[in-house]
């Protein structure tokens, strides 16, 4: 899966999405009101500045009133300082609100991810989910901090300017605004053109990047098949078409910016011509004309960076669509109403009654499985790869729901238990030991503060992990790096035993590691395992048959069906599947050690 999905670009503005997004602003209504007030104040303070210049010129400079000018200067200085602080405060407040919203969004996405069924993770690449938590939220952040605020403040400033101009001299104001329709037409056309080209650019850059990524991953194939030249030509074509699209945008921008500034100049010309006429006719003061000229420049500035805001809006809409569709994913079904107290320990009686299961449609992985496991029993499940052994774990912990049949725990259907209550009863040790970034101790307790250091050390000692942990540079506080790359497979296995023990479940399910382990640690692991399964129901998915010979029951799975059940000696006597598997195992070991 390449990380360069071609973005499907949606609308610039989507009412439904926007409404959902705005819901996140609700807890901060007060802050938003303050921010808006500050925004209005900043806008007002900015708008008042040309007005001060006007008064300074008209009332004092042209009349030679130095005292008055000093008064205006002082006022101006106060306004500048106030503006500085209000601006600072408003900007920070806006960012603060934006960050709080991002916090909630990220929290919600991550929270949702904790409760989705495993089937969801099977069909969704990890990279894509990470993008939701990181990049997508980031582009929404831009919407809140730059996009919306900027658009809002621009609208306020524009309206403010219009009102001020109208109130100062409505005739001149109207004359100056004659150019507005022209401006709107130009902007509208530009917006449409640029939107199309930007969409094109995004698609093309995505193509370039995924082509490049593909070529890097398959470089050996490219080189052996002497395809360098041809693939380069193809790349060049993609690259050139991207260039073309960009040249087009450059053209549009090169036309748009000068046009806007020309329209601005047109407005200036009208002000000079018409305003000058008004001065001649004594309908306008001199300072009034100067202020008008300043306002008209202020008016055109926000319009020129419209396209940038437009991009932010578009990206944010696309991101929010993806984020919300993730938030809308249905969580894992928790039908159970039977809630067990946290320290409850079940007896550990498990039955399968005619259980059928398929991950997809009717591709049955398990067919008509019936099995009884008594409390405290040690049961081993064996079978070739793909026989359905690991699926059984997934079903007991209800990671997946079975299609037909019933699974019970202590005589009650596992569907009746609340999911967390059920899982608290079961300790699972997976074959690929998953280690998180954190210390050794964290990896045993999974960072759960309820598990004390004594308990962690005790668990480690019990499963024979203490020896190697104490030899690590910082003992239990040694950081696990790169998913435990520095630890051996056996050491990781022991850690996962300690983890299971620290949580002290009534039922233990153990999926043996398939990867080869040296003999020394194999003995250690064997001993630890025996201790681990004492006093609890245990189910072992066995890959090495040597470890399960003293199991109470051995279940032989083959192609999703139970073919044989019995003790080691019984099954050997039967001389069926188990006997062959056993022989196969024996050969395998000989190959390894021979």
């Amino acid at each position: 899966m390449s990380g360069y999905e071609e973005e499907v670009l949606g609308k610039v503005y989507d009412h439904v999405l926007m409404r959902r997004l705005l819901k996140y602003t609700r807890p901060y209504t007060k802050q938003i009101v303050v921010a808006i007030l500050a925004l209005l104040l900043v806008a007002g303070l900015q708008l008042i500045q040309p007005r001060l210049t006007q008064i300074g010129i008209d009332e004092y400079i042209s009349t030679g009133n130095i005292g008055g000018l000093k008064w205006i200067i002082a006022l101006y200085a106060i306004i500048l300082l106030t503006n500085f602080f209000v601006h600072l405060g408003r900007q920070y407040l806006m960012e603060w609100i934006g960050q709080q919203i991002m916090f909630s969004l990220r929290r919600d996405i991550f929270g949702t991810l904790q409760h989705l069924p495993l089937s969801f993770y099977n069909r969704t690449p990890v990279g894509r989910l990470i993008t939701r938590v990181t990049t997508d939220v980031q582009s929404l952040n831009e919407l809140f901090t730059s996009g919306l605020v900027a658009i809002f403040s621009d609208i306020i400033i524009l309206t403010g300017i219009i009102i001020l101009m109208l109130s100062m001299n409505w005739k001149l104001a109207l004359a100056a605004m004659v150019v507005l329709p022209l401006l709107f037409i130009v902007t509208f056309i530009f917006k449409r053109k640029v939107r199309d080209v930007f969409r094109m650019i995004r698609t093309r850059i995505a193509r370039i990047n995924s082509y490049m990524q593909e070529n890097i991953s398959g470089m050996a194939v490219v080189q052996i098949f002497n395809r360098e030249q041809k693939n380069f030509e193809q790349f060049d074509k993609l690259n050139a078409s991207h260039l073309d699209a960009f040249l087009k945008t450059i053209f549009y921008f090169a036309v748009f910016f000068p046009l806007v500034s020309f329209i601005g100049a047109l407005s200036t010309a009208i002000i000079i011509w018409y305003g000058g006429g008004q001065i001649i006719a004594n309908e306008l003061t001199f300072g009034g004309l100067v202020a008008f000229l300043q306002y008209s420049t202020m008016f055109f500035r926000p319009i020129s960076d419209l396209s940038e805001k437009f991009n932010i809006l578009q990206a944010a809409m696309a991101a929010s669509e993806r984020v919300f569709s993730l938030l809308d994913e249905k969580p894992e079904q928790d039908s159970g109403s039977l809630i067990l107290p946290p320290d409850y320990r079940c007896r550990g009686e498990i039955t399968f009654e005619n259980v059928w299961f398929a991950y997809q449609d009717e591709n049955w992985i398990l067919k008509d499985i019936s099995l009884e496991i008594n409390a405290g029993e040690k049961v081993a499940i064996v079978g070739a790869t793909g026989a359905g052994k690991s699926t059984i774990i997934n079903l007991i912990a209800r990671f997946y729901t079975i299609q037909k049949g019933v699974i019970t725990l202590d005589g009650r259907n596992i569907k009746d238990y609340e999911l967390q209550s059920l899982r608290r009863q079961i300790g699972i040790v997976l074959q690929d030991v998953f280690l998180f970034a954190g210390t050794i101790a964290d990896n045993i307790s999974l960072g759960n503060p309820e598990i004390s250091r004594e308990k962690i050390v005790e668990a480690a000692r019990y499963v024979n992990a203490l020896d190697f942990i104490e030899k690590l540079p910082n003992g239990f506080d040694t950081e696990v790096k790169e998913r435990g790359a520095t630890l051996s497979v056996g050491q990781k296995q022991l850690l996962s035993f300690a983890r299971a023990l620290a949580f002290n479940p009534s039922i233990l399910i153990l999926d043996e590691a398939t990867s080869s382990i040296d003999t020394e640690s194999e003995i250690l692991i064997q001993k630890a395992m025996e201790k681990l399964i004492e006093n609890r129901t245990s189910i072992i998915i066995a890959h090495r048959l040597s470890t399960i010979q003293n199991a109470d029951k051995i279940v032989v799975l083959h192609k999703g069906e139970i073919r044989e059940i019995g003790s080691h000696s019984e099954l050997l006597r039967l001389n069926g599947l188990y006997a062959r598997l056993y022989e196969l195992q024996f050969i395998g070991q000989e190959v390894r050690t021979g």
């Binding site: 101006y76 990470i130 470089m219 910016f257």
Partner: protein
């Protein structure tokens, strides 16, 4: 590192950009000219407005006003044209440079050996091709343009100001250096905080990735709530960092606003006094205000440009790390240009290979194959089988020993000729996001449709393809369909044999194909590829038993060699493997 050496290496980096710019020097110089003109004309605008205002003060008539208005329009039109031309030259050049740089990067990667790709993960290379390339483009595009524009604007504005009133100019410019310095410093701070933000950001990414990859552990140990708390903590830290960044950013914008306001304030005050003293006309004062607003932009952009430049140079250095890595595997000067064909004799003499110095992957490998012979390699994962195959098309070069092809040392064969005669089916089938036709014809240029169908039949993929609506035109990959593992392998086999290679390398190429089909394919291959030297890596005894020679690799060394029968007789690793597989097969049949 001292400042001196850093400056030198910065200059070195900039030097590597110059050839790219030199290619477009005409456009660049034109661009500079347009920048000059834009600013020259732009600076005329306040002058016109000043004169207009001054005239109005002296009670001009409507005719004069009309002339001034037209003058403003004419100046604006001229300015617009130059502005257009400036963007169409300077910015366009930056896109051309980006294009060339990207092509060069891609072409350079094509010359790199497998070892290089071992050392540089795809993600790292892609980051350079995207983020760094972009930063360099910003350097040659916007940074260059704004730099020229800003300096011109500054020059002209100051010139016009000086012409109108030297005294007032000093006051108007007073905040300028302070602002530039302030912006530069602030952006520097932003960058250092930005790094901290990025670190937290990658922490969030890591936590999420771990959480999702380990979701089964999280769920089985009911750690969902705890994970949420862990995430919330990081999330809080992250927004904390973002907010300290927001503080600086706010200070930056509010600060520049304050400084440019102070400029206006000074002009109003001092200029006002000048007017009262009769040293200055009101029109000039008005023009100063206009010029002042113009100056606020260069003040901001100067700091910004400096920063973009710094980042661009750092990124160029990162690109150069790749672009200046010499290709490890290429034709030597003494290459035998006269050789255009490969017959298919292969000989390894005491070959050893290691990816890095301490861990040998292959040790002392010796064997020889005559053209047309078939050799099979068996052994455990990690025994060095794929590495051995990779040595033959020189995807990797050996450190010790010698490989001879047709009796000639492999390094003296032209790389292109060597590879043209090899058909290779790698272990991880790699197909491109293209049509099936293009994928099969990948290394065979313009083969006929007949040949295409023929190889598809030999690899027994023809029937599968016929079932697709678009047949050979079916798209694969991201924008198309996903083939099954077996279908992919069979497509890859077609791709290898359509070249009619002298040497065929199959690296576990039939592992996802059922034994029956495999047998069929091998039978057809033996017939069609009679003169071809084949090396087959496989775990399945059924695949290798008919080979002329079989070697058993373990830990990079040849442990057993012989034919199927002789190896069974010697009752070693191979014989064990054979027994195990027979059992497995019998299990399958139950």
């Amino acid at each position: 590192m001292s400042d001196d050496t850093r400056n030198i290496s910065k200059i070195e980096q900039i030097k590597t950009i110059i050839p790219y710019l030199a290619k477009y020097k005409k456009k660049l110089f034109l661009g500079l000219f347009f920048v000059m003109m834009t600013n020259l004309v732009g600076a005329a605008m306040p002058l016109v407005i000043r004169n207009a205002v001054d005239h109005i003060e002296k009670h001009a008539d409507m005719a004069t006003l009309s002339w001034y208005s037209l003058g403003i329009l004419a100046v604006a039109l001229l300015e617009g044209i130059f502005l257009y031309a400036m963007r169409q030259t300077l910015i366009v050049v930056s896109r051309y440079v980006e294009y060339e740089l990207r092509n060069d990067f891609f072409r350079h990667l094509q010359r790199m050996s497998l070892r290089f790709f071992h050392q540089h993960p795809t993600g790292d290379l892609m980051a350079r091709a995207t983020n760094d390339l972009n930063a360099v483009r910003s350097l040659v595009g916007p940074a260059l343009m704004y730099f020229c524009n800003t300096s011109m604007l500054l020059l002209w504005t100051i010139g016009v100001m000086l012409y109108m009133s030297p005294g007032l100019t000093l006051w108007a410019l007073l905040p300028l250096p302070i602002t530039g310095f302030f912006v530069y410093k602030m952006i520097g701070r932003i960058h250092s905080i930005y790094r901290a933000v990025q670190e937290k950001y990658s922490d969030i990414t890591t936590l999420t990735q771990e959480n999702i990859s380990g979701i089964r552990v999280v769920k089985s140990y009911i750690q969902e709530d705890f994970e949420k708390q862990r995430f919330a903590l990081l999330n809080k830290d992250y927004i904390g960092q973002n907010l300290s960044m927001a503080k600086i950013r706010g200070l930056l914008w509010a600060g520049t606003g304050l400084f440019s306001g102070i400029g206006v304030l000074l002009v109003l005050w001092i200029g006002g006094l000048y007017v009262m003293e009769g040293q200055l006309t009101i029109g000039t004062l008005t023009a100063f205000f206009t010029l002042q607003t113009w100056l606020s932009w260069p003040m901001i952009s100067l700091g910004w440009v400096l920063n973009m430049t710094e980042q661009g140079i750092v990124s160029m250095a990162r690109l150069n790390e790749i672009l200046q890595t010499p290709p490890e595997i290429a034709d030597a000067p003494n290459v035998r240009r006269d050789i255009t064909r490969v017959r298919g004799d292969i000989e390894f003499r005491n070959v050893s290979f290691a990816y890095d110095d301490n861990t040998p992957v292959l040790q002392d490998i010796t064997f020889s194959l005559r053209a047309g012979e078939t050799m099979a390699i068996v052994g455990h994962t990690g025994a060095g089988k794929s590495t051995l195959l990779n040595l033959i098309p020189r995807l990797l070069d050996i450190q010790e020993g010698e490989i001879l092809i047709d009796g000639i040392p492999i390094r003296r064969l032209p790389l292109e000729v060597l590879r043209r005669h090899i058909g290779y089916v790698p272990q991880e089938t790699f197909l491109f996001s293209d049509t099936i036709r293009e994928n099969i014809l990948f290394g065979a240029g313009n083969s006929s449709d007949g040949a295409l169908e023929e190889v598809a039949k030999v690899a027994r993929i023809y029937d599968d393809i016929s079932e697709f609506d678009k047949g050979f035109e079916t798209m694969l990959g991201e924008r198309g369909i996903n083939l099954s593992g077996g279908q992919k392998q069979r497509t890859a086999i077609s791709r290898a044999i359509i070249r009619k290679p002298s040497i065929l390398l199959l690296d576990d190429a039939l592992s996802a194909v059922d034994t029956y089909t495999e047998e069929e394919i091998l039978k057809r291959l033996r017939k069609e590829m009679a003169g071809t030297t084949s090396i087959i890596v496989s775990h399945r005894i059924s695949t290798v038993k008919n080979a002329d020679k079989i070697i058993v690799l373990e830990n990079g060394q040849i442990r057993e060699r012989g034919t199927h029968h002789s190896l069974l007789e010697s009752n070693g690793i191979y014989a064990e493997l054979h027994r195990k597989q027979l059992l497995e097969e019998s299990l399958e049949e139950l």
